[in-house]
């Protein structure tokens, strides 16, 4: 959620901590045995940090490292791993370029790299569309709702509701609505429009757009709520000063409010991009990424091939590619777009 703090912002709390924990006067319990104190201090640190560190290293770091190791092997996950065949970067090569089957000399392209690139293109399409569609919607709604009117609190709560709903429940709800004989088709008929012939989700081109609509429904509330929280921190004095100078509502939004919630927008965009790369639950509930993978994502492709088709080495390679992708994008985003916010972290508050 806040990967940016991983490197960019970690200096901020660190300074605070430094000031309080290692201030001018050392703050320690008063005793006369400095040596015993040091041992005692380290014992306390181990006691406090130990459980969390052990859990984290065992169940987060170790599996991630294992994924990197598995990705170099041909392994079905059932037999002993020691029997697995080491194949170097073959799994990666298959995903990225196809490769050839050693037995039949047939190209792997249709089996491996085509669905991989198809899935990856969906992730990037979702990233792009989130910026092009969800961002303007969320900004417009947040800016208009950033004022007093009857029912404001209720509206905020309701608009936020889809975000806290589980992906599974939202997914099944939309599956029923977008059933070929469901209410969405009925609705289109009643206003005299055609609905996709092959079904909302099954249609090769409509499927992706239907899923994007569902994703927008599910996640746009987060953007609205974050933007509203950012807007509530914008000083009214500025807006009033602008109003006195004759600025219109639009000018105030465009020149004052939107620039001042810039940090919030940029962080939302960051979360959205990372979330789009790792998108899984929703597409999986919606028929495992589509009957022909028409809205698969790399995460759903990884599960399909790694777990349910028991190609663990290849699935792990996909997982590593996904990790590298989000890592590189995160670093690039922090180094370029978020850098100026981090230079003045207090402004974001």
């Amino acid at each position: 959620m806040t990967a940016l703090e991983a490197s960019g912002r970690s200096t901020v709390p660190a300074v605070d901590a430094q000031a309080s924990a290692a201030g001018p006067r050392p703050v320690t319990p008063a005793t006369d045995h400095p040596r015993r104190d040091t041992v005692r201090k380290w014992a306390e640190i181990a006691l406090f940090v130990g459980p969390a560190l052990v859990l984290f290293l065992t169940f987060v770091v170790y599996p991630v490292v294992s994924a990197a190791r598995f990705s170099l092997y041909k392994w079905n996950g059932v037999s002993q791993f020691s029997d697995a065949e080491f194949i170097g970067f073959e799994n990666y090569a298959r995903a990225l370029f196809g490769g050839t089957d050693p037995a039949t000399q047939e190209a792997f392209v249709t089996a491996y790299s085509e669905p991989f690139w198809q899935a990856l293109s969906h992730n990037f399409a979702i990233i792009f569309l989130s910026m092009a569609v969800q961002l303007p919607i969320a900004l417009l709604v947040a800016l208009t709702l950033n004022r007093k009117f009857r029912g404001r609190a209720f509206t905020r709560v309701v608009i936020f509701a889809p975000y806290v709903l589980s992906e599974v429940i939202a997914g099944i709800m939309w599956l029923i609505i977008f059933d070929p004989n469901g209410i969405a088709t009925e609705f289109m008929q009643s206003i005299g429009l055609d609905s996709p012939a092959g079904g909302w989700l099954e249609d090769p081109t409509w499927g992706f757009w239907t899923v994007f609509f569902i994703i927008t429904w599910k996640y746009v509330g987060l953007a609205i709520i974050l933007f509203l929280a950012g807007l509530s921190g914008v000083s009214e004095d500025l807006q009033e000063a602008a109003a006195i100078d004759g600025a219109s509502w639009w000018q105030i939004q465009w020149r004052i409010n939107i620039p001042l919630i810039g940090p919030t927008i940029r962080i939302w965009a960051f979360l959205s991009i990372i979330g789009s790369i790792q998108l899984f639950d929703m597409v999986w509930v919606l028929n495992r990424g589509g009957t022909a993978g028409q809205y698969s994502t790399i995460a759903s492709y990884m599960m399909e091939i790694g777990f349910f088709r028991a190609d663990w080495g290849y699935g792990s390679a996909i997982a590593v590619i996904m990790f590298i992708l989000s890592f590189v994008i995160a670093l690039a985003y922090m180094a370029t777009i978020l850098r100026r916010d981090n230079a003045h972290p207090r402004k974001a508050r």
Partner: protein, 296 residues
């Protein structure tokens, strides 16, 4: 809109209850705001209401009359589900897992954040960075090896969900809690130590009560994450549906009753309601947590 603005600035509202002073600030039209609010609420609630109402329909009614009110209006679907133990078992499983996850995340997270915020020692920043890298490791990347690890360790069932969920929840928790704990005045410690309280005593008696707001925030985030979790249960809780959590239970039910759409609608609605009520009550906390996490 511009016309509306002018009338507004010329006639300052005298309600006095508004946050804004006078009518100085052009706010755009209230009607536009209410219009957008109505559209937003309709698009959000419409599908949810359709789902809940669908649970009251007969299968034939859903096909013949999907847009109208249920006719006949029947409780049978909901009653069928609520009168059998399966739904309640899954609700209990979800609750147990979410409560245990939340307790673990908050306890271990606060414990770890305390020295990282208020002790000064050599490896402090290094350990903190280790935890923050966890944000780069999503569950999706680790899930296949994690499944094997749990299998090899013999951890199965609900514990197999709780333990990894705690581990994956720790980074965000520590990142939110550390600056919060660091910001508490250091005079607290000085005074406590002068009174002869040890650091551990200080943690239990001073820090935990003072950190409560932040702990509630991270707790709510951990609870939501656990309650909605799907990927890990999908791999771990195969087989007996009575051992499943609600999200997985819903998909299993959907698979078993694929012809009985209205039954699925009822089951999904029931699975949604407790969480929805809880989350809407905690909306303030969730938003605080999310914006807190975003702003650091």
């Amino acid at each position: 809109m511009a016309v509306d603005l002018n009338t507004r600035t010329e006639t300052p509202r005298s309600t006095g209850r508004t946050r804004r002073r006078g009518g100085l600030l052009p706010e755009g039209s209230t009607y536009v705001a209410i219009g957008i609010a109505l559209v937003g609420v309709g698009l959000t609630l419409g599908p949810i209401l359709y789902l809940i109402l669908g649970g009251f329909r007969t299968q034939g009614d859903l096909a013949a009359n999907p847009t109208g009110l249920p006719d006949p209006f029947m409780w049978q679907n909901y009653w069928d589900i609520l009168s059998k133990p399966m739904f309640w078992r899954q609700l209990l499983n979800s609750t147990l897992v979410a409560v245990a996850t939340t307790a673990g995340v908050v306890l271990f997270g606060t414990m770890a954040a305390y020295p990282l915020a208020r002790y000064s020692f050599k490896a402090r920043e290094f350990i903190f960075v280790i935890f923050t890298t966890g944000l780069m490791f999503p569950l999706t990347v680790a899930v296949l090896p994690l499944y094997l690890l749990l299998r090899d360790m013999g951890i199965s069932g609900l514990w197999g969900l709780v333990i990894p969920q705690i581990a994956f929840g720790l980074p965000v928790t520590i990142i939110i809690l550390r600056p919060f704990l660091a910001a508490l005045p250091k005079e607290l410690e000085e005074a406590s130590f002068m009174d002869g309280i040890s650091r551990i005593g200080f943690f239990w008696r001073m820090l935990l009560p003072l950190a409560r707001p932040a702990m509630v925030t991270v707790g709510v985030l951990a609870f939501i994450g656990s309650w909605n979790a799907y990927l890990l249960p999908l791999l771990l809780l195969t087989g007996d549906p009575s051992g499943m959590t609600l999200p997985l239970g819903v998909t299993t039910f959907q698979g078993q009753h694929s012809a009985a759409t209205t039954m699925i609608m009822a089951y999904t609605s029931l699975a949604m309601l407790p969480a929805l009520v809880f989350f809407l009550l905690m909306e303030r906390r969730i938003v605080d947590g999310l914006t807190g996490a975003v702003k650091g």
